[in-house]
Amino acid sequence: MIVSSLKLRNWRNFRSSEISLSQRTFVLGANAAGKSNLLDVFRFLRDICSSQGGGLQSALQLRGGFSKVRCLSARQRPYIEIDITLKASSDSEDSWRYRLSITQEPRGFRRPIVEREEVYKNDERILKRPNADDDADPERLIQTHLEQVNDNVKFREISRFFGAITYLHLVPQLLRYADAISGRIIETDPFGQGFLERVAKTPERSQKSRLKRIEAALKIAVPNLRELKFERDEATGRPHLAALYEHWRPNAGWQQEDQFSDGTLRLIGLLWALLEDESLLLLEEPELSLNSGIVQQMAPLIYRMQRQRRRQVILSTHSVDLLSDKGIAPEEVVLLDTSGESTQAVNLSDLDEPYSLVKAGFSVGEAVLPKTIPRQIELFSTVSD
């Protein structure tokens, strides 16, 4: 399944936005424009559906409560609404729509409650709340039906999908020094500490085939890299990755992951994640600590990995290099426009000028550069070349 569109009301710094999403979506914005906030919508849905202690109340608590999540400049009635459409695949007509409005109890503890919850399957409404049961027992409104196994039978599919959403913000140091730090690994391992262990636990056949695919893609992106393999340290049994570089390099021969550059390591981690599962993958600024040559190859690399798994990827970025690939379509880019009083998320394909520029053969990076769109002047302020 893929998320095909998203409508937000009063979600953090998005007072009102509506965007379409594709198999590969790039969320582009300056610092503090709301990139993480946008990705957080999907993490929020995941937290509601999480099989371990999920639910609406806990998902909001994790974020500091209802008032932290609701847009500060919200007008009218203070509710939060997420309206999301899913499709079986990017070219399929079968669709799901999930719509959730959250508000606060008017008095008493002012707990967050469901104001409205609806599910549509192929445009037919199969859930509408509040319903008679909710009227009889308003206490039910502190939970969504999405999180209730007894109530989500008819749309369990989307609950599972949300529950399996993965968020990745790989920190190479954590991955590299996992042993030394021996820190607690958060259940979903967003920072990649458990990466090598996960590779190790993968059945040998899929482990080999995934590494082969990654190796083939890396050969094009990382000049001089020739082979990639998994091995165990003979003495300690610890899992390792090793790469073979072309012979003329200093330190010729096989290198283990502790000698990889931070960038190569991050890259391998995220390519692996693309092959690991089928639900939505969220990548937070994957350009960090990668050199510009590799960042330029990131978009096609992601596409290549998607060919096998069709896993949808939504990534946030503020890198011009990442958007320099001319194969990125305006339809795949969501721009966070901070020129107004609250941030507006828009599809690049809905902006006349950048759209025409990309169609004419410029890269998205070139088309949204500050000189092209003056009001986006800050977009790339932190990126230098």
């Binding site: 094009i220 596409y303 290099d321 320099s324 690939d325 194969g327």
Partner: protein, 195 residues
């Protein structure tokens, strides 16, 4: 030696050319790959570096306009051209150099050989020509990679560059192509003398 290219495909082509005519030459660092504007911005730094460092520069010729290559080079770098500089234009763009190896390209893109046009440096917009060839591919993977998806309005597909990189690295016969593209033949000869 520094290799400065306008984009990724030109860099890959340049690497192959250098490897084939001067196998022992080591490409120290590569720069550019950010389009023509980036080259224009880098001009002052390149000129300063030319005092001590050799630069091989590859650009697409579609930016030349009315000028001929050597006029343009004189405009940028003065006359005589600095001895540490070897700047070559692919006329009109690097795709011409690839299309000029008809047989291998046809195989690589899974089309019959007569689908790849028999052309030379006189034909402009050869990226369009190449996309047209890819559109006729029998291999769905080639079409998906090289052409924009149905509802997408980018000029090229999501793995256009990676596919052609693969072609350049593993299949492109430079000698075949330079028989038809004069700008490629001249680039090879100039590099032979330069390296």
């Amino acid at each position: 030696m520094v290799l400065f290219s306008e984009d990724i495909l030109l860099e890959q082509a340049a690497r192959r050319i250098i490897a084939s005519i001067a196998p022992n030459v080591f490409v120290g660092s590569t720069m550019g790959n950010k389009g023509y504007n980036y080259f224009a911005k880098s001009l002052p730094s390149i000129k300063r570096s030319l005092n001590g460092i050799k630069f091989v520069v590859f650009l697409d010729g579609d930016k030349l306009g009315q000028l001929c290559p050597i006029q343009q080079i004189h405009q940028w770098f003065g006359d005589p051209v600095p001895p540490n500089l070897c700047l070559r234009f692919a006329i009109h763009e690097v795709e011409t150099w690839l299309i000029c190896d008809r047989t291998n390209l046809a195989n690589f893109l899974s089309v019959s050989p007569n689908v790849v046009p028999d052309l030379d440096d006189s034909v402009p917009d050869t990226k369009e020509v190449l996309l047209g060839v890819a559109r006729k591919s029998r291999d769905r993977g080639v079409r998906d990679d090289m052409l924009p998806a149905a509802n997408h309005s980018s000029a090229i597909g999501p793995a256009y560059n990676s596919r052609l990189t693969e072609f350049i690295q593993d299949h492109w016969d430079i000698n075949e192509a330079r028989g038809k593209s004069e700008s490629l033949d001249r680039a090879c000869r100039a590099l032979e003398a330069f390296l």
